[in-house]
Amino acid sequence: MSEKVYTIIPAPRRETIRSMIKRGERVDGRGPDQYRELKVDTGIAGNADGSAKVSLGHTKVVAGVKVSLGQPYPDAPAAGVLIVHAELIPLASPIFEPGPPDENDVELARVIDRGLRSASAIKLEDMSVIPGKQVWRVFVDIYPIDHDGNFIDASGLAAMAALLNTRVPKLSVTPDGTVTRAEEKVPLPINDIPVFVTFAKIGDVLVVDPCYEEELVMDARVTFAITKSGNVCAIQKGGRGSFTPEEILKALDTAQRLAPELCAQLEAAAHRV
């Protein structure tokens, strides 16, 4: 229930970064609205049904998808099931500790989950096999392997890339309810490709795609998940600071401007397979 006490950054370094930001400069030379280079590799985990590795600068995240047949949720008997799990493992950073998921793991997974779900990224209603009895269950597991800030975006992009990479056996169901798996595999019924764009507020400046040092000195952050149509399908504010309404709307404008390029890269990576 209490915040994770992150590594304290030395006060002089903190001040340096904050005054750079004030002058419109960033530690890695980017402009305030400049996203780091996104790199997407898919199919990196051969036992998964879909997988991807995403790099945002030094931040690296792997995501894998496993699908299996199972029971639907009682409140949606004719829909597939989507379960998103994320774990900030200590391999990726000295600030992550081993142990059961803490609030940061849970928040990360739930934000990605909301973005995917609100955008209907997967048409879950097309993933029912025998309504009320058997549906596809889609597990998305997200693991950072190197942490240099902005895990939310990297995780969301990796999750979406892994879903785009996923292939499931074609099924046929006889009238008496016998399910047969064909050799042939088909992609998931993808409906939209939401992407996540996060801003850090440092003093009075908003910077997109913060790196780790920027996260250490930021006052607050806000993330938008943006659909292909440009609509917002999820928002999450975090951190001990606040935003003016104008700041929110300005950040949203930038997010909407950046989203199509991120989405295009995910699509391109999917087609490279």
Binding site: M1, S2, E3, V5, D75, E103, V106, E107, A109, R110, R114, R117, S118, A119, A220, V222, T227, G230, N231, V232, C233, A234, I235, Q236, K237, G238, G239, R240, G241, S242, F243, T244, P245, I248, L249, L252, D253, Q256
Partner: protein, 247 residues
């Protein structure tokens, strides 16, 4: 919970419970309702009933969690097993409760002069007795009052209001059924005097203009809740102690 053919909005813009789109449910806030807590508050918002206790500022336990430059704020939002409409909720914290505890804490922190009490902690405990939509924002509204009641120095109160989309229209203060069957939910908290947003979440589908409009609508509703917060705190100091009736 099948998304059945319930119309959430009549043709003349009335909601299931008769409210207009811009209308809050009936609400009531009381401060200082518990004897043991350093500060406390109780809120009713429609059928929601939520109790908040604040303990602090006090020594941090375990000690290594203490922060050298500011107060450690901790927050636990939890729903009683019988507070929910459907099956009994398991008493152990769900992932939803873990996340909400975090965002509530981060919605309250901007309003507190944390640096005035370094090396201390303050705990905010929130128990939902009855839930009917928008519990996280109602919890924030009550928690801000409980913090003030505990004498924690604050820049401003914090007010939480949800806004959602039902039948394509923005509507203030979603009820449980509107949250379940509507097209989107956007819980917002703000410091009403400073007009700074301290909590912002959303799911569903919102255009840029809808978000701009939502931020405006929420502010108007927040002022009404803010007045109730202040009344509760004023009453608290005129008649001690408040015996709250959970009705």
């Amino acid at each position: 919970m099948e998304k059945a053919n319930v119309k959430l909005l009549t043709e003349d813009g009335r909601r299931i419970d008769g409210r207009g789109l811009n209308e809050l449910r009936k609400f009531r806030v009381e401060a200082g309702v518990l004897k043991n807590a350093d500060g406390s508050a109780y809120i009713e918002l429609g059928r929601n009933k939520i109790m908040v206790a604040v303990y602090g500022p006090k020594e941090v336990h375990p000690r290594h969690e203490a922060l050298p430059d500011r107060m450690l704020l901790r927050c636990r939002y939890s729903m009683l097993p019988f507070s929910v409409a459907d099956e009994r909720k398991s008493p152990s914290p769900t992932r939803r409760e873990v996340e909400i505890s975090k965002v509530i804490r981060e919605a309250l922190e901007p309003a507190i002069f944390l640096e005035e009490y370094p090396r201390t902690s303050t705990d905010v405990f929130i128990e939902v007795i009855e839930a009917d939509g928008s519990t996280r924002v109602a919890s924030i509204t009550a928690a801000a009052v409980a913090l003030a009641d505990a004498g924690i120095p604050m820049k401003d109160l914090v007010v939480g209001v949800s806004i959602g989309k039902i039948e394509g229209r923005l509507a203030i203060d979603l009820s449980g059924i509107e949250d379940q069957r509507g097209e989107g939910d956007m819980p917002i908290a703000l410091m009403p005097r400073l007009n700074e947003i301290t909590l912002l979440q959303a799911d569903g589908s919102f255009s840029r203009d809808e978000i701009a409009q939502a931020l405006q609508m929420v502010r108007e509703a927040a002022i009404k809740l803010y007045e109730e917060q202040r009344r509760a705190l004023k009453d608290r100091y005129s008649k001690l102690p408040v015996e709250v009736e959970i009705t």
